[in-house]
Symmetry: C2
Subunit: 433 residues, 2 copies
């Protein structure tokens, strides 16, 4: 079988400046992998295009508030890092990550809960890389993985190229429904299938803003231990709680069960500095048992060798700022969320419900059945408001009547204007039903 | 089938501070993917451990000379970028990359040779990511890919998790042997197999330091066009030529064949600022036809969302420095290479041959058959010299009597001392044969 890239005119095989327009168009589509073919990135791109419309209030993005970035301190930290470490700040670094940062994370990820060492910490180039490499070390094509319904679409995009079968677990206002999870696990076990892992965001979930209750966290550890399923706990928003009481992470609860031994834990804890310091630095980490971090190192060597050295040093310089900075974020996001919730309650037509997040950046709207938020989006944009369509958060389809709103980067007046426009758009849709 | 993670004592499913030492050790190894299981990273780790020996002359690493990093200019560029772009320097950026950098790369990657636009340029988090994502968009398990023998082991590490079958193509002093390539392609075609791509480093190859001749470049384009095989041209060292005449890249030669149309080219050109500015910034790029960059964007969204924004801006600020900086590197590396070649010719016992690179960072030693450079390495380290063992550059095994030496970061006196120690070690091995 011969291919189809070009005509390969042998008479012109010597160097030549003559164009050879007879060269055929390469057969691109036929060559791409099934894995990348299964990835659908259109929702994100549509959102980016929409962000260009002048005067648009965009609740669709997942951006932290840029006016709260500690710019002076970042500039200072960059200068300090280059001054202190010199060429080491821009030379190749170790794949595991900058040791002082790993030491700090070992002490502070689950303070006091276990014997976590830097060997349990792998630095990543943003939280997205944590998901990619976790998928890479666990998923063979056809493996089952469990995701919440709805779940973070960026995680699905990381997992899909590895060709897993998704099993979706229903959620309610307290997060994953544990009876449903038990049933899914039982059914899979009956088919001889053990899911590789369950992916969950227990705190202020993306997209719903919901938080998994303590009781359910314990139950999740019970069930996953019983069935031999790893837990990928994604916690980028945990530091952004602005109401209610903190709940220990799954990683911390599991450390208490193992007598503090991280090497007996089946929880991979993933977090990031993107939501507490600044996302463009791309600094994140995974805390896990050493057999897992050892595989993550191998995967990361092939993925990007190491996270940029300077960026890890900048973050390390900024660690003392974290308490003050996260407090500032909590206050600001609380104000924005409270305002958005009040305006939603005032403006939204009957039959539309929303979640009430205790932290994070997002809340979730459920519209009456029959309204299609994807079809509605262009009409919302006409009224100068955008949101993230809900169905892209459903790994197995569904959610046509849902949407995600982000309150983290919207000004209070924009919230007034945007929610009013959204309510008007929804009323228009309801009138069409 | 039930799993084996833990004992899941239901009586303790409530939050508790009591350690539960009965929790079983999770079944880590059984859970890992076949892809990551196939990755062997030990050679790199051994090298890192060796770098710790005091007084060791380490020719094994692939590090650029840190004393040549333009530290003042990097510090200035970082301050300028943060000043000029403010919060945009640390906010989420587009997956494609920072537009001014992409514009410059579109104009300067193959200047004058074609109608390359920013849409043909994808910014990557280091050249390693280019290899990972190229593998991700092309390789389904069982696909054939072609690599040089020997080839860059980091590329193999990027490709292996996607489970390709490697076909190895022999090389000689002018790079890939084109008769052998024709034969490999013919044999595969007879089996109905079309390789997805051939991976090659045409300039100052890692590990051998060899350069693919112009005649062979044209022939490579002929053969790959004929058989429908994409070309992954990895060119991190192209700017570091210190002797001989420059040869156009495969990408440039192909643009001349398509009348300058990048969308009819089957060459993916990968390069990086790691060897010309500084590796720790992790900034690299791929130039390719739009159907390919469109898939790379999807893959990168799931891999790390985008390359750190600040780092792309720092590199953009440093672009005017590139001609002066690369000239400095060429001069310095020429001095080191010349010196190493002279000392090798003086010190090495008969029967040991080496390549004579015209640029880059590496040269390649071939020892008499029977000498095993892997077994020899501890004895070399005893004499305070280290090298990279050759067999790790052979995707399908072989090369036991070869090694890679890096001259880029060694001082001239270290070269004297290290090569003398190496020659002494080799003489010891020859005496054992």
């Amino acid at each position: 079988m011969q291919g189809t890239l070009g005509t390969a005119d042998r008479s012109q095989s010597q160097f030549t400046t003559h164009p050879q327009p007879q060269a055929a168009v390469p057969a691109f589509e036929a060559a791409f992998s099934a894995g990348i073919g299964a990835v659908n990135g259109s929702a994100l791109r549509d959102m980016l295009r929409m962000a260009q419309v002048p005067g648009l209030v965009n609740f669709g993005g997942g951006l932290p508030a840029p006016e709260l970035f500690p710019m002076d301190r970042i500039a200072q930290a960059s200068a300090q890092a280059l001054d202190r470490y010199g060429w080491k700040a821009v030379q190749y670094g170790t794949t595991e990550g900058f040791l002082p940062l790993r030491e700090w994370l070992a002490e502070n990820t689950c303070p006091g809960a276990g014997r976590v060492t830097p060997e349990h910490i792998q630095i990543m180039t943003g939280g997205q890389q944590s998901l990619d490499l976790v998928a890479k070390i666990f998923i063979d094509p056809g493996d089952t993985i469990l995701v919440e319904t709805p779940t973070y679409m960026g995680a699905v995009q990381s997992f899909v190229p590895y060709r897993p079968n998704f099993a979706a677990v229903p959620t309610d206002e307290h997060g994953i429904d544990m009876d449903a999870l038990a049933e899914v696990l039982r059914d899979l076990a009956a088919q001889g299938r053990t899911p590789k892992f369950i992916y969950t965001i227990p705190n202020f979930q993306n997209p719903t803003g919901r938080t998994l209750s303590l009781e359910r966290r314990e139950k999740l550890l019970d069930l996953t231990s019983q069935y031999g399923v790893f837990v990928v706990e994604d916690d980028p928003y945990g530091q952004l709680r602005f109401s209610g009481d903190p709940i220990p992470s799954l990683a911390e609860l599991m450390l208490r069960r193992t007598g503090g031994d991280p090497d007996r834990s089946h929880v991979l804890y993933c977090s990031s500095f993107s939501k507490t310091l600044a996302p463009g630095l791309r600094d994140a980490w995974v805390m896990a048992a050493r057999p897992i971090t050892e595989k993550l190192v191998l995967a990361k060597q092939g993925a990007d060798m190491h996270t940029p050295t300077l960026n890890q040093m900048i973050v390390t310089e900024l660690l003392p700022l974290l308490p003050e900075q996260t407090e500032k974020l909590r206050q600001s996001y609380a104000t924005r969320a409270d305002h958005m919730l009040a305006v939603l309650d005032r403006e939204l037509p009957q039959g539309v419900t929303h979640t009430v997040p205790e932290g994070g950046m997002f809340l979730w709207l459920t519209l009456p059945t029959g309204v299609n938020t994807t079809a509605m989006l262009p009409r919302a944009v006409e009224r100068k408001v955008a949101y993230m369509i809900g169905e892209c958060f459903y790994a197995l389809g569904g959610g046509q009547n849902t949407m995600r709103l982000s309150f983290s980067s919207a000004g209070l007046e924009d919230i007034d204007r945007g929610v009013a426009a959204l309510a008007q758009t929804i009323r228009g849709e309801l009138a069409r039903l």
